[in-house]
Symmetry: C2
Subunit: 168 residues, 2 copies
Amino acid sequence: MPVPLTKDPIAEIQRNWERQGWQQAAAPAAAVTAIMRTQQILLARAQEILKPFKLTFARYEVISLLSLSRERRMPMNKASALLQVHPTSITNAVDRLEAAGLVERQPHATDRRAMLLVLTPRGKQMVDRATAALNEQLFEQTGFTAEEVAELNRILANFRQRAGDFKA
Amino acid sequence: MPVPLTKDPIAEIQRNWERQGWQQAAAPAAAVTAIMRTQQILLARAQEILKPFKLTFARYEVISLLSLSRERRMPMNKASALLQVHPTSITNAVDRLEAAGLVERQPHATDRRAMLLVLTPRGKQMVDRATAALNEQLFEQTGFTAEEVAELNRILANFRQRAGDFKA
DNA sequence: ACTATATACTTGGAAGTCCTACAGTTGGTC
DNA sequence: GACCAACTGTAGGACTTCCAAGTATATAGT
């Protein structure tokens, strides 16, 4: 990692796959690996930017979601569904957000099984600052051109829809 | 997650960002989130396919790399560089691969700090079967069209190069 | 030749993800 | 009205990733 490689290791995977005679699988195998690596790079950047706020990207996503909702509150199962992560991941994130005073758990008015997540004023302030930092330092300079962003959004939305993430 | 959402939650993020007046950041924010979600879906599929082999994707990547190298052996630091993960991740994966009898650690001939990873015959057999499964069940039916795969490979290779993953 | 810096790997710990299993609630069905 | 299936959130465990620190070895500079 310190010294950049002289060859793209993912292009190397594709060449290896082709050399083995797996023509059909070669390019998609490279694409899958590239997506995983890209995610890793983007996540690392986000975490770096969020470090001064003592937030991780997972926790940022939770409070950002709350911040954009009406009333700045939401049942946990809805947060889980919208962020598309396992319920226990939300539990984990909320435990830490609550310890940091950014979010509160409140009983649901009509369903005693459910928990309502409520963004505190401190939480709101934190989201605003963290979002400004992410916008400036990550989203407005991802390293993708505007065309590439549009292409990615198109291709990945198709994929996610076919994968069953959402309907029509 | 059980019931598919009626709206794409990532498109929702983009709309929310635009509503807040963050025009420049909106589309890239959606793209970043889409990449993360897509990685999650692909990783889950890979893990599912590898489960019968008692392999995780991280461990598969290590033995696949060894399998494609001359002599089926490689120093750990080279594996770390090529897979672009932290050295400790390799240590972790190799501990488990070694326990499963798929890989062996051998001393390096000329550098006594270094460790040589050697794929065992059992390991080779396992890679071959796992690769066949991944090719059939994942890579040959990712849900991307051939054009989309080509676009992804082009866009993500540019990105990774700009991010410093490799030179020229 | 000797010291200082750099490299290779491991250990221990923090954080995230998921899964399984469980307790408490809810709600439709007979 | 009682009962069972489905749902909500959480505890515990496995796994991965990274970071920080430590040990051993190699290499460069004086």
